[in-house]
């Protein structure tokens, strides 16, 4: 094997690893959004949930020097904000879009405020270590894929585990059956004795927990924190990927890899230097989202009761 070929495989493997790292936050959020939307609740607050997960995780990692604790706290914070989303949209039956916007604004405000309150005194070197890479024995020896796919950190592995779990839960469990029934026809589900509100609460909170982990991973894998808006639209991109994935977990999950690649492309040109101005590179993910939404429009059938608060008919 020539020297050039070795370099190439190392480079390719590095690119795949970076793409995965950039995709995982959105992949978690997209999985969570699938859960929520299959139960009939659009959570447009995903971006806000991710932000809260991110600041919780970053603070825990920085002050308590434990990234894993950070991830756990990020998940919990996500769940808590998800509970608020569920309360407003399910119990109070407030418009789901408005509820989601409220959660987005709350998350934006909370993360910006907490960051400034906790870190503004500390100064310039606010950095945390990333998570340890855990190569899988034997598999990590495979060329190219070994040092990318099989040498990830625990949260990246967890994302694939969660993908399988979500597919299994939606497709193969009683809860999944109820979830889909509630998302398609809540009054029929209600008639059959399904507690619509409870199923939706579970879906929204579980979904927000996943988005919280996504935000946590974003903060930890970035090593640093931008005071405002570290997610920069990733939560909304995750929601768009649910449309792209036609409400199927795997398609939504792998759809986010496209954006991992898009962010990587931007970063690549930034390093290599190109005739394209830096700020145009920053636009790539957003323009790509718009383009994808146009390309897939009208292609899929959404859960019938998506976005409609369920009220039991009286009398």
């Amino acid at each position: 094997m020539s020297m050039a070929a070795v370099l190439d495989t190392a480079a390719i493997s590095g690119l795949i690893a970076s793409m995965l790292e950039l995709s995982v936050p959105m992949a978690f959020a997209a999985l969570g959004e699938v859960l929520s939307e299959r139960g009939g609740v659009i959570n447009l607050g995903t971006e806000g949930v991710m932000l809260v997960g991110a600041i919780s995780a970053f603070s825990a990692s920085f002050f308590m020097h434990s990234n894993l604790l950070g991830v756990v706290l990020g998940a919990l914070a996500g769940a808590l904000i998800g509970l608020l989303m569920a309360f407003i949209s399910i119990t109070l039956k407030q418009d789901q879009i408005l509820s989601g916007l409220g959660i987005y604004f709350l998350g934006l405000g909370l993360s910006g405020f907490l960051y400034e309150a906790l870190f503004s005194e500390i100064g310039s070197t606010i950095r945390i270590e990333g998570l340890l890479k855990l190569p899988i024995p034997l598999l990590s020896q495979i060329p190219v894929l070994g040092s990318s796919l099989f040498s990830q950190d625990i949260v990246e592995y967890l994302s694939f585990v969660m993908l399988v779990v979500v597919i299994f839960v939606i497709g193969r469990t009683t809860f999944g059956l109820r979830l889909r029934a509630v998302g398609e026809n809540p009054s029929a589900a209600d008639t059959l004795g399904v507690n619509v509100a409870r199923v939706q609460y579970l879906a929204v909170v579980a979904g927000a927990t996943l988005a919280g982990i996504g935000g946590a991973y974003l903060a930890i894998s970035s090593h640093a924190f931008q005071a405002e808006n570290i997610t920069a639209g990733r939560g909304f991109i995750a929601v768009a990927m649910v449309y792209f994935g036609k409400w199927r977990p795997a398609r939504a999950f792998f759809g986010t890899f496209l954006f991992g690649a898009a962010y990587l492309l931007g970063a690549f040109f930034q390093v290599v230097g190109s005739f394209i101005p830096y700020y145009f590179l920053l636009m790539i993910p957003y323009v790509l989202t718009l383009a994808i939404l146009v390309a897939i429009a009208r292609g899929a059938r959404q859960p019938s009761a998506l976005g409609v608060p369920y009220t039991r008919e009286s009398g």
Binding site: L44, G48, L84, I88, L92, K93, Q94, I97, L98, S99, G100, L101, G102, I103, F105, L106, G107, L108, G109, L110, G112, F113, Y115, E116, A117, S120, A227, E228, A232, G233, F236, V239, A240, Y243, P277, Y278, Y279, F280, L282, M283, Y286, V287, T289, L290, L293, V294, A297, R298
Partner: protein, 309 residues
Amino acid sequence: MDALYRGTIGTVAGFAESIVQATPLMLMALGLVIAFRCKVWNIGAEGQQVFGAILVTWFVLQLLKNPWSAYAMIPIALVLSLLGGAFFVAIPAVMKSRLGINEVITTIMMNYVAIDALNWLVRGPFQDRSIPGSYPESPLFPSESALPILINQTNVTIGIIISIALCVIGYYILFKSPLGYSIRAVGLNPVAAKTSGMNVNLVMNYAMILSGALAGLGGGVYILGVTHELLPEQASGLGYTAVVVSLLGNLHPLGVIFASVFFGGLISGMSSIERALQIPRTLSLLSQGIIIVLILIIQVFARYEIRRT
């Protein structure tokens, strides 16, 4: 509390600053009221106002050396800001009405595109190159393009008159005109509106375009009345605050007048508290988040109260 008081209503300067901040908010929130009443969730006021300001800057920079008279420049600049906002919302509007694509996602994506474009322009084509090593900002606009001052020794311009007048006109359009009737009908029940012969998609487009145009005008009033140059801070989040303002104004054009003065006071008051007490700058961001969530919760209970009596 003393700082908040001095920064808002305690002094003439403080109150004037509240009005200055309220002016663009009022226009943007008025637009959002029209859109939200039609249940089209235009969250892109930020991008639309930035694009309006970009068009204004382009126009003013053409005439930097030989400015026209204020009577020509200001109206043209304001109309351009309006068109800029309308154009920028047209993309998500068509995506919504033709293809049924969720407008929340598209308008937010457009916001990011506008902010990146703004940051590029103030460091590129629009940057003031007269001083070496200059800041990311456009050259200062000529005085002919500045909105006339209404109250001496303050920054209160005729912008506030335009804003209040448009809110009143907005009220008549929304509640007394056939278009406003259609907008509200589509918002309340699109199926019924369609059955009764309304072109639902067209009405949604009108509501979106109107809201974008008003947001663009808000951006124009801000740059021509407050900053007089294009700065990265043009995208400081006014368009997002406008969402909260429109809800606090109970989605009513006249309510928006009071809600935006309240928020203008909050913004200018917060900045003076922050100076006085050294509390985080992001407190106003947090308070906006809390306010919007409280509004959503209280709205439901208010509705419940009415139904019960």
